[in-house]
């Protein structure tokens, strides 16, 4: 991953090219502006829905952090389910990748400018 210039300045007016990058300043900026929701409910959440503006390109972005997995189970899900119930995790470090719908030149994915930032989310 390419280190990004450490800057928490407001995003540029021009559309930045796609670049996989991260910055600790972006982490701080995103933590102050991100909105987090527990889906489908707060008692047994299955996903965290993180919305906010990308700290690099400034476009609105949505990140879905899966807390459970459904597909690809091979029979040991009963044990893992019991374990997760016994010690439910209520905090998590989350790497969020920009998923904005703006066209960024050089995109290797359908969405986003390539930036990623790290959040620590805790709920009770």
């Amino acid at each position: 991953m390419t280190p990004a210039p450490a800057s928490a300045d407001p995003p540029n007016e021009t559309v930045l090219p796609y670049a996989p990058s991260s910055s600790t300043d972006w982490d701080k900026l995103a933590a102050s502006t991100a909105s987090v929701e527990l889906v489908p409910n707060q008692v047994r959440p299955e996903q965290l829905l993180i919305t906010g503006d990308c700290p690099r390109c400034g476009h609105a972005t949505v990140w879905r952090e899966p807390l459970v997995k459904f597909a690809g189970l091979n029979g040991n899900h009963l044990l893992s389910g019991l374990l997760s119930r016994a010690a439910p995790k209520t905090e998590r470090d989350i790497e969020v990748i920009c998923e904005c719908v703006e066209a960024h030149s050089g995109q290797d994915h359908r969405y986003g400018c390539g930036a990623s930032w790290s959040l620590h989310v805790a709920w009770t």
Partner: protein, 169 residues
């Protein structure tokens, strides 16, 4: 910088406070993991449906086999049995084929979905909520299909045991 946000859904009794802080610095590993999670969120339903399709194929085979076996051998197999044994064997065969048929329906429902009239999502949260509900229902239908497959097999073995070892006339 630290922000304290509150998740408020009207259906919940009390909102859960959610604390958001800057996380540990990004690494190539954490980026890779995030990309994997993005793929999981995008592909999970497709993967589940592919699994359900395989189960449907298996159940269709079982149903076809049992129905054919029941049709061609049922009458002659129970001919020499006492009336009570005939009733039990016939009941077990019918129950077995019924369980296989229900399993087939459930696995097809999991693999292809069941079109129903539903209000469209009004927001992102509702859209995600609907998708998670669909995932849960797909998993439930798939599990139901698996249970039906084994119940069907057990019932057919019971019918077989009655025809072999049941009281004769």
């Amino acid at each position: 910088m630290r922000g304290v946000l509150v998740s408020a859904r009207s259906m919940d009794v009390s909102p859960v406070p959610i604390r958001v802080e800057a996380g540990p610095p990004s690494t190539p590993q954490s980026r890779l993991l995030a990309e994997e999670k993005r793929r999981q969120v995008t592909d999970e339903l497709t993967q589940l449906r592919a699994q359900a399709e395989q189960w449907r194929n298996g159940l269709a085979g079982i149903t076809a086999l049992f129905t054919t076996a029941g049709l061609f051998t049922g009458q002659s197999a129970v001919a020499g049995l006492a009336m009570e044994a005939r009733i039990w064997a016939g009941g077990a065969i019918i129950a077995s084929i019924s369980a296989a048929a229900i399993g087939l329906y459930l696995s097809m429902s999991a693999a292809f979905g069941l079109p129903v009239r539903r209000l469209g999502a009004a927001g992102m949260t509702q859209a995600v909520f609907g998708e998670l509900r669909l995932l849960r229902r797909t998993v439930s239908a798939l599990h139901g299909a698996m249970v039906c497959a084994f119940v069907s097999l057990a019932l057919m073995l019971t019918a077989l045991a009655i025809t072999w070892y049941g009281p004769t006339i």
